[in-house]
């Protein structure tokens, strides 16, 4: 045990390991907060769709040769989020199909652009790391960590300030709207925050695995708790724990960061599901 600890202490002397830890925990916290709302609103797949959009935008940004990809990726993802949440409101099937369409469309075009225009010698390596986030979290700069911390703080602050409204709009949009809550504005807010989180989370787990960060903690918490506030709090806690555990394990065992974090989330879901089933009997 002490051997593992001293090994960890050694690793934590490197700033990039500390950065990865900070960013990982913050992203996990933000994504789980929004995750509860998205799962309950039947928007689980929006995370997936948006992450593919972000992937496509990233491909275009790097093909154009931008040094700061965020300038393209963030606005494109935000706009897609707004459009997707809007179509999802009218009819279920239309929203479903729109997400699937945008999702695979952006993925295909993104890969195409990367392949045709890339200047890098290792295209498949680039694609792999964008999809599965294998190394990007360990190559964060100080500025990126700061940006991530600021955006996370904004997301958490907005979530706390609008917590009651988000609950009302999620539970019963018609009632909220009828009694004068500006549901449209809050839906827009949810869409924008979701997009920001997705773009941030790409660094941690890559664009294919983002949905896991959004849905697993929420689903785990719903196995065990029956009121909204405990579900939100527990889902945030379990998400942070899994992210931290996943990053530590990946450092020690040399496994890819993103998939290790997601594996930890899956394990946590399994445990919560079992506990819920045992207690339910």
């Amino acid at each position: 045990m002490s051997e593992i600890l001293s090994q960890l202490a050694h690793y934590f002397e490197y700033p990039f390991v500390r950065y990865a830890m900070i960013v990982g925990v913050l992203i996990a916290l933000c994504s789980s907060l929004l995750g509860v709302t998205l799962v309950l609103k039947r928007f689980s797949f929006i995370g997936d769709g948006l992450s593919h959009v972000a992937f496509g935008a990233l491909a275009v940004a790097s093909a154009v040769g931008l040094t700061n990809e965020m300038i393209i990726v963030l606005p494109v993802t935000v706009i897609s989020a707004v459009l997707l949440l809007r179509t999802g409101k009218n009819t279920k099937i239309k929203g479903d199909a729109a997400i699937a369409m945008i999702s695979v469309g952006a993925l295909a075009l993104g890969y195409l652009v990367m392949n045709v225009f890339s200047t890098s010698s290792n295209v498949s390596g680039d694609v792999c790391s964008t999809l599965f986030g294998s190394t990007s979290i360990l190559t964060l700069s100080r500025a990126e960590v700061l940006l991530c911390a600021v955006l996370s703080a904004v997301v958490i602050l907005i979530f706390i300030l609008f917590y009651n409204k988000i609950f009302a709009v999620t539970f019963d949009e018609s009632f909220a709207r009828a009694t004068g809550v500006k549901a449209g504005v809050y839906n827009l807010l949810i869409a924008v925050i979701t997009a920001v989180i997705i773009v941030l989370a790409m660094k941690l787990v890559g664009s294919l695995l983002i949905s896991a960060l959004v849905i697993f903690p929420a689903l785990s918490a719903m196995r065990l708790f029956k009121s909204f506030k405990p579900v939100v709090i527990f889902s945030a806690a379990i998400s942070v724990f899994c992210a931290a555990a996943g990053i530590l394990i990946s450092i020690l065992a040399g496994t890819p960061v993103g998939s290790t974090v997601v594996a930890a989330d899956i394990a946590a879901f399994g445990i919560c599901w079992t506990l819920g089933a045992v207690r339910g009997r």
Partner: protein, 235 residues
Amino acid sequence: MALLTVKNLKLGYEGKTVAEGLNFTVNSGDYLCIVGVNGSGKTTLMKTILHLNPPISGKIETGEGLKSSEIGYLPQQTEIQRDFPASVWEIVLSGNLGHGGLRPFYTKEEKAAAKRNIEKMGITDLTKRCYRELSGGQQQRVLLARALCATSKMLLLDEPVSGLDPTVTAEMYDLIYGLNKEGITVIMISHDIKAALKYATHILQIGKDNFFGTKEEYLKSGAAEQFNEKGEESV
């Protein structure tokens, strides 16, 4: 000036007309039942009154200082709510949001109002329970308590007894009738013409032939029989 005046209203969604030529007024203390066969536009009318759905043409005016956000609404249950993790307390409290503006948290008065309305609906012992584990009748009481947090003037109820067994249905009707006696104006959509005639002061029938008037006028007009035949068939 009436609490609610509807003039020559034509309603529908996505450009399709569902009902037209609607004219009626609701005065403070009225109990209006909206009847009509399935698809005649009852729910659409309610959503239009609540500004959830824009009218195609015509006017809806509120009077006596009734703001459109001061109408309490009991919607039909949605699929999302059936497995939603929320406690009774959280749901009832959310009825207060409409008059809070941008204020992020609930005030003491709002919490007191929620507590009072939970008591009024006789579900104090369920306050901490999970909504999805309650029976249909209990869930309707929760939603009614929430609607009461939003209004002290007017309640709009969309089929409040659908899916409830006869005993619970009778209890629900009594509860609503009691609220009406306390001075809350009630507008209710109902499939159940017998209950409508028992409790309502006014009837609005929409469909091929619109009718609006007091219960007595409705019985005399013979419009009810026409509905009865169709209603019986559809049961």
